[in-house]
Assembly symmetry: C2
Homo-oligomer: 419 residues x 2
């Protein structure tokens, strides 16, 4: 067993078992190219949830699911205090990797396993959490389960949202909850007091690898704004309609996309501006597009800069683009988040105790920790991923980094469970 090097840690983590669980979880929704396609609330994700319930059963933890589809695997404490939460998510992008989200959940099971083996006694309940629908690629917005848990959004407004195949969110959620209950999970109400939350996660960026560090202790998350843009033109025959008579929604949308992008090009390369979804309708080669729809994902550390870009965007959306009109809706707003200094301090202490070098850093991606930070003391631990590649089947991590991150995070959460 590749055990932790220092006996001063509260628990000894089994690195091989952690790696085996990671690879087993990756078989649910495995793609032929080595990646994972495990959409939130899908049949493959339901099967993965059932497997987690089996893992929890074997480790003496009780399984729970709340009305938002979040799952909790609970190891009782000796006192009836607010629990500490530890975990991440298991849904993936359509062409996702094996470790985004999955790493934090499997680190949670490494904690349950080590605690069971050591017969660890702790004051507070320790709960491994699986937040529902973090990716948001099947049902928008992302980080939905933690946002619902933290009361940032309400469930009613989401029920009728449909995925690309026309399947309703409420139906898929209900089926997932029924499936989990059939496998032994207990129902639980949405939202409860939490003492602290730690989320281990892969970095999804290049910094730790470049600096040769196994661990990042994350002290905050950059702010994010998501927009949904619709450009309305007029369909007409591609062969007969002169340029002057066209209102081509593709041309209008492409011009608007370039205009929105221009003010985000900063010399520091710190603003993140992405159009990841772009569709034209009806989508026929010889018909001028009558409508185009695209997404905008905008992020930066500085909320004031995001607000000023928002004003520029709003002004641009009021113009006409190649004769087309524009609707622009802001569908998600996350202010930059600063994590809890006490939790950060316990993580730094965990890194020192386990002899792992680390750096403090800010997260470029949003995470479920974004919403939890509004509810309880929260922080995150990052481990490096190869070339910073994520949301891609090529996503890779190293077993020794997976163990290092788990040790640091588990040291802190166990300390919090004792207090």
């Amino acid at each position: 067993m590749d055990r932790s090097p220092l006996s001063s840690l509260p628990l000894t983590i089994d690195g091989e078992a952690l790696w085996r669980r990671l690879q087993e979880l990756a078989t649910f929704g495995a793609r032929s190219d080595g990646g994972v396609d495990r959409p939130a609330l899908s049949a493959t994700e339901r099967a993965a949830r059932r497997r987690l319930i089996e893992w929890a059963d074997a480790l003496g933890a009780t399984s729970h699911i709340d009305p938002a589809g979040n799952m909790f695997f609970r190891r009782a404490g000796i006192d009836d205090l607010d629990p500490v939460l530890f975990g991440s998510h298991i849904d993936s992008q359509p062409n996702g990797g094996r470790y985004d989200g999955a790493y934090g959940v499997v680190a949670g099971f490494a904690l349950l396993e080590a605690a069971a083996r050591a017969q660890l006694v702790h004051a507070r309940p320790i709960e491994v959490v699986v937040w529902n629908n973090e990716e948001g690629s099947r049902y928008s917005p992302g980080a939905m389960g933690s946002a619902l848990f933290a009361g940032q959004i309400g469930l009613d407004a989401l029920r009728d949202v449909q995925d690309a195949d026309g399947l309703r969110f409420a139906d898929e959620l209900e089926a997932t909850i029924a499936d989990a209950k059939a496998a032994g999970a207990r129902e639980r109400k949405l939202g409860f007091p939490v003492h602290a939350f730690i989320e281990p996660h892969i970095e999804q960026g290049p910094i730790l690898e470049r600096e040769g560090l196994p661990v990042g202790i994350v002290d905050g998350i950059q702010g994010l704004r998501w927009y949904r843009v619709t450009v309305h033109g007029s369909s007409a025959h591609a062969g007969t309609t002169p340029r002057a008579a066209r209102r081509d929604a593709f041309v209008g949308a492409a011009e608007l996309a370039a205009a929105l992008r221009a003010p985000t090009i900063d010399s520091e390369d710190a603003v993140r501006f992405t159009i990841g979804r772009f569709r034209v309708f009806p989508g026929s080669p010889n018909t001028i597009a009558e409508r185009a729809e695209f997404s905008v994902d905008l992020r930066h550390n500085d909320d004031a800069l995001l607000t000023s870009l928002d004003e520029v965007f709003t002004e641009l959306a009021q113009r006409s683009w190649s004769g087309c009109s524009v609707e622009m809706e802001r569908v998600m707003t996350l202010s930059p988040v600063s994590f809890d200094e006490r939790v950060i301090g316990l993580l730094e202490q965990g890194a020192r105790t386990s002899g792992r070098s680390y750096r403090r850093m800010t997260s470029g991606a949003f995470h479920d920790a974004t919403h939890m930070a509004s509810l309880c003391p929260t922080a995150m631990v990052f481990i490096p991923c190869a070339a910073g590649i994520s949301h891609n089947p090529l996503e890779r991590i190293e077993p020794h980094d997976a163990l290092a991150g788990a040790e640091v995070a588990i040291a802190a959460i166990v300390a919090l469970a004792q207090s």
Copy 2:
């Protein structure tokens, strides 16, 4: 009955019956917005084909279907000569109108009806033709049935083409042929000698309406080139990946699309350049696109100009666009077409006999007549459509124009059938 005004025409066309048939055909695949969605080889198109067979039965014409899915409704001549063909297509764009294609087919049934009523005797067989898959929006390329009939392309290369739902062309074709045979159509071999072809069609452009003319006699079709462009980038996380580290397929494709469009912007507004299909993959808001695919539809009267633009396009596709590589494939090439002067002369004579004012004009759209012109003397008749709008549920024509165009075209085809 709104009969033709002049007795010197060979047949008296029933304008009300022609209009009723147009509206009945529009019920197959009717959209709630008044348009038509009748994809080639679909269940709705099969039902429409069955209805045409019923029409033909009632008018004493025999129904035939060939291995390309083209249908022929034949009224025998007194001699065993090569037939004259008259017709168009019944498939539509996904958000198409009621008259594109349908008008030419219904004009054919107006001919069969008038000939039956008058017990017209003619030397050559007269066949109303329905060319398969003219639009090309479900299975590329467009004008497929007439291209197969004329030997411009082969059937084998098309069999495994799939539509957006993964349905194979060969399977859908086979099911359509079986359905037509069950309804009474006879099998016929692909391709046979044709004496002449006339295709009545809506203009799909603004010229006839603007000039207040009921009829256009079409002396040619502008040339067309279709391209399929794929831009290869690399997917990565939208929140963590610096701009400098991105190979964003959306950004590359949008830049390339603008670069391809730039040299087509001519002061005469005569070049037609359209990107009607544009897709990004995986299409998730917080994932940088790894791939973008788009179509290019390029048209002009002058083949040399199309060739020089083709060279510019090829050069542009060899460059790197925001770090992305490009594959560009030319999937259809149609040279500009000049129609047969004798057929044009008969159409002009028909217009004079029926007292309909007209102009000669070039077609901006390609049609099945493009391919037929390589096989036999061919021409087209246009009627105006409101504001030139087509490939759109708002497509509109006037009953008196529908009658005028049918009279002119029928006068010419009957003259050709006697020769």
